[in-house]
Every structure is written in C-alpha cells, then in structure tokens.
Amino acid sequence: NSKVIQTPRYLVKGQGQKAKMRCIPEKGHPVVFWYQQNKNNEFKFLINFQNQEVLQQIDMTEKRFSAECPSNSPCSLEIQSSEAGDSALYLCASSRGGLNYAEQFFGPGTRLTVL
C-alpha cells in the first residue's frame, strides 16, 4: 500500500481565494509528481520534482499555480486565486526514480471544491 500522505483530504474555497495542499512522499522516494484529475476522471500532469528541483512542468495556468518541495518539509501545491474550473482531485505521487523504478505511488488526493 502506498505511503504517500496528502493533506487536507477536502478543501473548499471561494473564487479568488488561495488554496494550498501538501504532500509527504514515501520515504526514500526523491521524485514527486502532481496531477489534477478532473470531474471526467481525466489526468493532467502539473509538475514534478527531484528532491527540490523542478524536472518538468506545464505552463502553470496563467501562473496561478505554484509548487515546491523544500528540504525536510512537505511538498506543496498552491493556487493563488482559485477559479471554479480548478475544482478537481489533486493527486500527489512519488517514485524511487530512474527508469527501472518508473512506477509512481499515489496519495489519496486533495479534493478541491471552488464555490
């Protein structure tokens, strides 16, 4: 079973409010991914890190999205000014890294509702 921890499980925000969610990857997993799963259950990759460094990211939706993975602290994903279209399940995943350990292990997600 995955040991990725995500908090909070549920987040409700009004339009224009900040929304912040956190992720603690599995121990020994230096690579962290954030995905958005929309109401149609489609996955959208947002960003990934190896340790504290960004590896890949999408054009972060008009720069409203920001993410970091500081040393010795949980990773975080923050939406500066929430919009209704941001309502989704935000999934954090971690992996051991390297091509031979490509599988990703997922946390339970943070379900964001923007009213």
Binding site: N41, P108, G109
Partner: protein, 112 residues
C-alpha cells in the same frame, strides 16, 4: 507525440465473465507500460507494469502482455468479480523520472 488510447469508456459485465480492456500506445521511446486501478474515492493503485516485449505479467488475477509490434498492452482477467468494479487506467512512462502519459480510463462495472 506520446499518447495512450483506451477505446472503451465503459465496460459492463456479468460476474464470472472474462474481462478484456484495451490499451494501445504511441511513443518513439523504449518505455514502461502500466495499468492502474482506481476504486471510488480511493487513490490510483498500480496493478501491472511491463517493459519487456512479449512477456506476460500477472497480479491479483489480472494479466497483460506488452506487444511492441502492435503497441498494445491489453488487460485481461479470466473471471470478473464484483469487487473489480473500478476505473482502470493504462499509462506510459517515456523517460527517467518522467510524467506518466495517461489514457482516458475505462470504467468497469461488474453486475451480479
């Protein structure tokens, strides 16, 4: 570009019948293919993975064989159970520490 296609959005079966969910992919890279299963209100969980051509991989009664000649990685099970009802995603990894390329998912509904 890299892509994964799952042709069935919804598969409805009666318990005890065989399951086959289709997955084809496009990539220019040597890669891993995965099947993830997501039960309602749960995290996606890894079900199967493979990077070896023509080798069958099995887990929890499910199996799949990666066929690079046809770019396919279909998921099969000989006898569906009620507890198999879930979303099933085929996904592709194309590089070190790279994001997964996801199919749109197949919702499997198993009825008594």
């Amino acid at each position: 570009g890299d892509s994964v296609t799952q042709t069935e959005g919804l598969v409805t079966l009666t318990e005890g019948l065989p399951v086959m969910l289709n997955c084809t992919y496009q990539t220019a890279y040597s890669t891993f293919l995965f099947w993830y299963v997501q039960h309602l209100n749960e995290a996606p969980k890894l079900l199967l993975k493979s990077s070896t051509d023509n080798k069958r991989t099995e887990h929890q009664g499910f199996h799949a064989t990666l066929h690079k000649s046809s770019s396919s990685f279909h998921l099969q099970k000989s006898s569906a159970q009620l507890s198999d009802s879930a979303l099933y995603y085929c996904a592709l990894n194309v590089g070190d520490n790279s994001k997964l390329i996801w199919g749109l998912g197949t919702s499997l509904v198993v009825n008594p």
